[in-house]
């Protein structure tokens, strides 16, 4: 019998009911079935008042939740993806891009800019899953890099809120290069002794998890968020292993030592304020 060289014992935990409820109305809670008007959900930070389920938050709304009113100054608005490989799967990449821009009102899957959180100056980089699944191509990589540079220039911490399905395949090998690119930007940020906090929101996977998102001085997440390099479906298909109920969820990541904390959304802003104060006092 072959001896396992790596301890592949698996812990099984109960999985919180956190399916994305594909097909249902976006304002219907996939966990308890309650339905809300959009303004109700917005007023409650997009957390289900009934059961605490954390709905996804779009980038601009996340910024409104976190930044002190009127402090956010967007940067690098003008960046747009190119189509260097003339990529064509079932549809051309250019068409997918145009459609994403129209439907989201965003130039790509990340918004960056300067801001203040609880009166602490910082730089914000917020991803939006609605733009092509939050995938990271040349524009996301460049924006994260510019956000790091902007933080370095102003000697303030960087706060990144991630939500991503991974690298943007349509940019081929260039999308893989956004991993080392963002890593290098964060290393420059570290050399400049600027703090770096990452908030991993649902889902943070593949190329984004395997680059800047995992490099925070402090890494926090939200309840029930999927944080995995390889998602459950692919793991299941590849290995035929029975997956633990909480496979890849924030709760599992905390138990295995990959997260500093899981914070309900309402506690996120005060937590960031505290962290930013600590970085400022330490300078």
């Amino acid at each position: 019998m072959a001896e396992p060289r790596i301890d592949v014992s698996i812990e099984h935990k109960h999985r919180p009911d956190n399916s994305d409820g594909a097909g249902k109305h976006p304002n219907t809670c996939p966990s308890c079935g309650s339905h809300y008007r959009d303004d109700e959900l917005e007023a409650n930070l997009r957390v289900c008042p009934q059961c605490g389920h954390h709905f996804r938050v779009r980038a601009r709304e996340r910024i409104a939740q976190l930044a002190d009113a009127g402090t956010f100054q967007e940067e690098a608005v003008e960046l747009r993806s190119e189509d260097p490989l003339a990529f064509f799967d079932l549809r051309p990449y250019t068409e997918r891009l145009a459609e994403a821009e129209v439907s989201t009102g965003l130039g790509d899957a990340m918004v960056i800019g300067s801001a203040a959180i609880e009166n602490e100056a910082c730089e914000l980089a917020v991803m939006d899953f609605a733009f092509m699944g939050g995938s990271m191509g040349s524009v996301v990589g460049e924006k994260l890099t510019r956000a790091a540079d902007s933080a370095i220039e102003r000697k303030v911490p960087l706060v990144a809120v991630t939500a991503s399905g991974g690298a943007r395949m349509q940019e081929g090998i260039l999308s893989l290069m956004q991993l080392p690119k963002t890593v290098c930007a964060i290393e420059d940020l570290r050399d400049a002794r600027c703090g770096f906090v990452t908030v991993m929101s649902h889902p943070t996977t593949a190329g984004v998890l395997a680059s800047f998102a995992s490099l925070g001085d402090i890494i926090v997440s939200e309840p029930g968020a999927l944080l995995a390099f390889t998602g459950p479906r692919v793991v299941q298909q590849t290995t035929r292993e029975k997956l633990p109920d909480d496979f890849g969820l924030a709760e599992s990541n905390l138990r295995f030592g990959h997260l500093d904390a899981i914070l309900p959304r309402s506690e996120l802003k005060p937590f960031l304020g505290r962290a930013l104060r600590l970085f400022r006092n330490g300078r």
């Binding site: 301890d7 592949v8 290069m177 998890l209 998102a213 390099f229 599992s252």
Partner: protein
């Protein structure tokens, strides 16, 4: 040359030239890469058949693996084992060795030749423990000033439950971060499959050498087909769309040099393949060894910071590529 071909080439050249201009800085290594890129531009773009042939040859079951090159190129090889925490991962081999009178640190993905070795080495797919073993070796190399040579040849980081629980994503991120901090020369040789995070985990380096029939891609053709075509039988279409072949990687500025293989592929003459790779590696290490460590690191970071093709609207028209 037909007018269409010429227009096509010019478009590609424009796009290509946009690349080193993106952030305005020029690197010492760029001149050579750009030169090779421009030489290449005179050649026809690889045909669909040629791209798919590379995918086939890169994964050929008799293609030389990392340890086949170690045996042929290095002396006094001392293999080092274990992540000093929880496990020894045979999917990624590490060691110290002498290469042309210079001590180097080796980190290489290792497939298995027969079914037993394949199983033992998990088909070259590392767990986080493997990347942590690699990081341990990077620290040894940094301490002593040994250049690091990495060999990329793996279907990818292992997509298993334990690998996830033990932090696959974080391990890949931190391995790259460590490479971005080192002040010693770093060279990668892509000798087979360079796939996704599993490859870049040990691929953030000063110079990337890629064998003629190796591939380098953000995802395997099968994986891409499954996601975008929802049918992994469409792997050929996916491969052609991803363009993971050496010619395209050079054109995109992602690698620095294409290393020739013996006619028909490295597996037909491993000794000759090793000689060709060894010569390229030797030249590259000679070049890098004259650069001070702090400068190496700065250039390395700048290299990656500049990679990407995008437009910046009206405010930065110089960035606009072709088409």
């Amino acid at each position: 040359m037909a007018a269409d071909d010429e227009r096509h080439l010019r478009e590609r050249l424009t796009k290509l030239r946009g690349l080193p201009l993106l952030r305005g800085t020029r690197l010492s290594g760029d001149a050579k890469r750009l030169e090779q890129q421009l030489e290449r531009i005179e050649e026809p773009e690889p045909s669909d058949q040629e791209i798919w042939r590379s995918v086939d040859l890169a994964r050929h079951s008799e293609r030389p693996y990392t340890l086949d090159y170690v045996e042929r190129l290095f002396e006094d090889y001392v293999e080092l084992h274990g992540d000093r925490a929880r496990a020894e991962d045979p999917a990624l081999v590490t060691g110290l060795a002498s290469f042309r009178d210079r001590t180097i640190a080796l980190i290489g993905q290792q497939k298995g030749r027969d079914i037993n070795e394949r199983t033992r080495r998990n088909f070259g797919m590392a767990h986080p423990e493997g990347y942590r073993k690699g990081m341990r070796l990077m620290e040894v190399a940094q301490r002593h000033g040994f250049p690091i040579v990495t060999f990329l040849d793996s279907p990818g980081a292992y997509p298993g439950v334990a690998a996830e629980q033990h932090g696959q994503g974080g391990a890949i991120a931190r391995s790259q971060a460590l490479m971005a901090r080192l002040t010693i020369p770093l060279v990668s040789c892509i000798i087979g499959e360079g796939n996704s995070g599993g490859a870049i985990a040990i691929g953030l380096v000063d110079r990337v050498l890629m064998q003629e029939h190796a591939i380098y891609s953000v995802i395997s053709p099968e994986g891409c087909a499954a996601i975008l075509w929802r049918d992994d039988a469409e792997k050929v279409k996916a491969a052609l769309a991803l363009k993971p072949d050496a010619a395209h990687c050079l054109e995109l500025g992602v690698i620095d040099e294409i290393v020739s293989e013996p006619k028909g592929g490295a597996h037909l003459n491993p000794d000759e393949a090793a000689r060709l790779l060894g010569d390229a590696l030797g030249r590259t290490l000679d070049q890098l060894s004259s650069v001070p460590g702090a400068e190496l690191r700065e250039q390395r970071r700048e290299r990656y910071r500049r990679i990407g093709i995008y437009t910046a609207g009206a405010t930065e028209p110089a960035l606009r590529g072709g088409s």
